[in-house]
């Protein structure tokens, strides 16, 4: 009996330990906009509100359209864990509340950092996040305060 209980318990604790290892405190994604975008700074709470659909305008009155990478990508999990402290399942539950109460749809998704870059350079209102290796001169890194 004890043995049967120990195995799931060990795997549970191991799972918890692995989660902590998989989420280092330092973000491995960069929050970026087009070089033409009218802003280069955002507060952490603005960024969070924009991605959770609570706000579309930032303090300066500029309209921002957030873009996501598809579910299951490392960049997406990293981005949400670092800036909202939430797991993919929590983000999914958040959007279930929004969608089924008529409060809107989640951000448009792109397949990877490359697609994200192409979309960002063509839209000055768009806000996205990419793997640092995809950063080029057409983009600007947004400072998160």
């Amino acid at each position: 009996m004890l043995k049967r209980l120990t195995a799931p318990l060990v795997s549970l604790l191991l799972g918890a330990a692995l989660t902590m290892v998989n989420h280092p405190a330092r973000a491995e994604v960069l929050v970026v906009v087009s070089a033409e975008a009218p802003f280069t700074r955002l507060t952490r709470s603005d960024l969070r509100d924009i991605y959770l659909g609570r706000r579309t305008l930032i303090a300066s009155g500029v309209q921002v359209e957030p873009l996501d990478q598809v579910e299951g990508t490392a960049a997406r999990s990293e981005f949400y864990f670092h800036y909202t402290g939430q797991t993919p399942a929590q983000i999914k539950a958040h959007w279930a509340k929004q969608i089924f109460t008529g409060r809107g749809q989640p951000p448009q998704t792109l397949t990877n950092s490359r697609a994200m870059v192409e979309r960002l350079v063509s839209d000055a209102k768009a806000l996205g996040y990419i793997d640092p290796s995809f950063l080029d001169e057409r983009l600007r890194v947004v400072t998160i305060e």
């Binding site: 402290g85 399942a89 999914k92 539950a93 509340k97």
Partner: protein, 409 residues
Amino acid sequence: MVRQATWLCAILIVTQSGVLLADSGLPNLEFNGYGTLGVVHSDERNADFVADLFASEGAGYSDDWSAEVDSRLGLQATLRMTPQLSSVVQVVSEKRYDGSFAPDIEWANVQYDITPNLSFRAGRMVQSSFMSSEHRKVNYATPWVRPPQEVYRLIPVANFDGVDVRYRYHSESASNELQLNFGGGSADYQSGSIDAKDSWGISHRTNWGSTTLFASYGELKVSADEISRFFDAYRLFGLPGEEIASRYEVDGKRTSLLSLGVSYDPGSWFVMGEWSRSSSPSLLGDSEGAYMTFGYRIAEWTPYVGVARAKVTSNTSEPGLNAALYPSPFTEGAQLLNGVLNELISSGMQQESITVGARWDFRPGMAFTAQYDHINMRSESSGGLINQQPEFTPGGRINLFSLALDFVF
């Protein structure tokens, strides 16, 4: 009302079609859905446990393990016609008063965003009476197998046909939403229907970092033909009957509901609680309910515990008519009426419960939840149990075991 909303929708589409052509990517149609496959076991065999007060059968008496208490399917279409104009239609299939799973329209409205922060809706909506009322059927979006009935049953939350205005505003680091609504609705049950007229409500929600604060107040006029006929019978007994009827009748009186909620969710754990009070100078009386739930997240697992309590604060018995004053058969009639009246005013939910459960987010958009509830019904209360058999004794304790598979797509 739904028909009027559809007309409004059509008119807006025609008048806005210029904008529609100008913007690329619109109109845009999205399909989403949610559902639960769940089974519940109740150890009270002489009555049925139900999640929805209007369901015809549940777990316990009708079924040892019932798959009809929590199982449901919801499908939604969201049409965005212009950047300002959108429409939502949501259809839900779940156990109904007539025993069927016939689909019903839960949401059907047209929304116009006057500014990105101010929107107006007309059609069918769900009132935000409690913190999770609007998404109470989307079990994937809540930690439990079902919302704590001690609060969510105070007023059977149902959809309404009407209008609402939502205003979002932002302060330093908080985002807020103020909502005002007005309308009416009706809910069918086995032997009649309950209508709500002139109902209005105001609610406010603040998201500030990991903290959510919620408050709402609303009033509605409830009426049910069956109850009106019951008090018409009382009126046959002259002045004393009139007095009882005017004191307890529901028709034309205002029921109010006040609700406060708070949640703190920094990510790896959460705590949430709500307190609510409903008051009505009628048969419905005054009731209070509260719950608190605490959960901890370990990788894909979320174990949680909760406590809840509901009580009736108005009187739960009434001497009624003095039957001895009337000649037969009025004596028997008065006794019968008094019996039913006392049964009705003592039927309010009075209980304490403990909930222990765990949720497993085993793949994106799917979660499996196992939950145990121990309910201690106080002072002769039958809680929210239906189909009570002659052998059923109120005021007991029941144990519930629930398993649920929740999904969204």
